[in-house]
Amino acid sequence: MAVPITLEFSGGAELLFANQKKHSIELPGSQKWDVKSLLPWIRDNLLQERPELFMQGDTVRPGILVLVNDADWELMGELEYEIQPNDKIVFISTLHGG
């Protein structure tokens, strides 16, 4: 059973994904998906350029905040959060300008 979810990128993170902010995707296979396995899937299947600007090691690079269903992923278990059907995962690059 594939898992349908929504991904969103903002704050400039969308520039790594052909400037597309919203992506409706289906995570393939019957295994359980968590954020830890989602990140390399995004890198290998959606990312258009420069993976080092998205990931560092097995997590997101410093300066990207991850939201799970509109809450800080720290409240949801970070990398260990198990992805549910119709979840919305958002990646926000922090802005510094003024």
């Binding site: 704050g11 690079r61 300066g63 509109d70 809450a71 922090t94 510094h96 300008g97 003024g98």
Partner: protein, 449 residues
């Protein structure tokens, strides 16, 4: 003529400052005369039966005084509150003017920089004839024109580890309206150490972000971002662009949050983050983690008890001004004047402009150019080398003699491109200083952006 213009501009500027000073003096004297009168047998306050606000204050703030949530109590709190705005730019300007309008008693403005013409599309308290004037002073002048009864303090310094604590100490609430990562970490740590809430705003392109750090059990900047972002992932307004009204909106929100905290009304934005997207006209407010017990600065056992070197910590300068890179040896570069000579001598060459198409539309050199943005160059340099070789060959020009000239806005990206496109068969160089140098040294009528 030019000297006359300049003299006139300076004269206007001088008189504005003088006028601003006179207004402040008048305000001070008026305040004093009210206080003196209330020492007499017939206190002025008896007429309005209010011990706390003068008639002038009641008149000025009447439309917000009648809000039950604010009332006299809230207004008195505002008038006795002290708010520091760090950064007199796109966020700081709208924040400052609304704080002044609302009657925040003491408003401090920190900025070491001076007004430039390219600031005016978003830094709306500065004016055309204040180009070259201190931004902090310029904001104070505009705010004083709106409300001369308040106390404005200008700090014309770069906020640093040496001066941050002594500046912040005198205020109750701090606004982060800065434009770079190093200053944001510095300000966060200083506010944690000094125990002040930090109303943080930021904006770029069409997006803005807003939150309140270090307030009522919420996180600090470091709780959210323990590690600074890699410098190459950070874009400033000068490179990424920003629509002026976007920091305008976020700056207004910063004033709003500061007013709520100062007057102790409503629900502040601590432990929440507001995201604003102007393109879709959407706002989203999300729940953040609480204060982190392991945070090195606001945690239970903080390892940081004083400010550090933030430029070193971030690996980036505490400014959003562009740094001139030196990547290439002199032999791989030419000056704008040398390129002009090459053009005048009619030497066959390929001109490669690595700016974005939107920038090509603003202005370009007087020679047909191959326009490949630097990010595209980065993706597949060898394909581009082949493309250039084909273009040279089809014109029947020998490869090694005819130059390939790379240009960009300031001469930084062009160096990267030359490095990426290095090929033993190509004679490739960039124009030192880019189009800015062309405008400065060759064509004074060429636009600068």
């Amino acid at each position: 003529m030019a000297a006359d213009l300049e003299r006139l501009r300076q004269e206007i500027c001088r008189r504005e400052e003088e006028l601003s000073e006179l207004k402040q003096r008048l305000a001070d004297m008026e305040k004093k005369s009210v206080e003196d009168a209330s020492d007499g047998t017939e206190p002025k306050t008896i007429h309005n039966g209010n011990q706390k606000l003068t008639n002038d204050q009641i008149g000025r703030y009447s439309r917000q005084l009648i809000l039950p949530e604010l009332g006299v109590k809230g207004q008195v709190k505002l008038l006795s509150s002290k708010v520091l705005i760090v950064g007199a730019g796109g966020l700081g300007c709208p924040a400052a003017i609304y704080l002044a309008a609302a009657g925040v008693g003491k408003i401090g403005i920190v900025d070491y920089d001076e007004v430039e013409i390219s600031n005016l599309h978003r830094q709306i308290l500065h004016t055309e004839h204040r180009v070259g004037v201190s931004k902090a002073e310029s904001v104070a002048i505009s705010c004083r024109n709106l409300n001369s009864s308040l106390n404005f303090i200008t700090h014309k310094v770069q906020l640093s580890s040496d001066n941050a604590m002594s500046i912040i100490r005198d205020y109750d609430i701090v606004l982060d309206a800065t434009d770079n990562v190093a200053t944001r970490y510095l300000l966060n740590d200083a506010c944690v150490l000094a125990g002040k809430p930090l109303v943080s705003g930021s904006a770029l392109r069409f997006e803005g972000q807003l939150t309140v750090y270090n307030h009522k059990g919420g996180p600090c900047y470091r709780c959210l971002y323990p590690k600074p972002p890699p410098p190459e992932t950070v874009t400033n307004c000068s490179d990424g662009g920003v629509l002026g009204v976007v920091p305008g909106i976020i700056g207004c929100y910063q004033a709003l949050e500061a007013i709520k905290i100062a007057a102790d009304i409503g629900t502040p934005l601590n432990q929440r983050l507001m995201l604003f997207d102007a393109i879709d006209c959407t706002t989203r407010t999300i729940k953040l983690r609480g204060r982190q017990v392991l945070c090195p600065v606001c945690g239970d056992n903080p390892s940081m008890t004083q400010l550090i070197d933030y430029e070193q910590f971030c690996g980036a300068r505490a400014t959003d001004k562009d740094q001139e890179k030196k990547v290439l040896p002199a032999s791989s570069r030419m000056t704008a004047k040398e390129y002009q000579t090459l053009l005048e001598n009619g030497i066959e060459h390929v001109l490669l402009d690595v700016r974005l198409p939107v920038e090509m539309e603003i202005c370009h050199l007087p020679h047909p150019a191959l326009n490949i943005p630097i990010n595209t160059v980065k993706k597949d340099p060898s394909a581009l080398v082949e493309q250039i070789k084909r273009q040279l060959a089809s014109s029947g020009i020998p490869l090694d003699t005819s130059p390939v000239v790379v240009v960009c806005r300031r001469g930084n990206d062009s160096q990267l491109a030359v490095q990426l496109l290095h090929d033993s068969n190509l004679n490739i160089r960039d124009i030192r200083g880019g189009l800015h140098a062309w405008a400065r040294d060759v064509d004074s009528l060429f636009p600068v952006y």
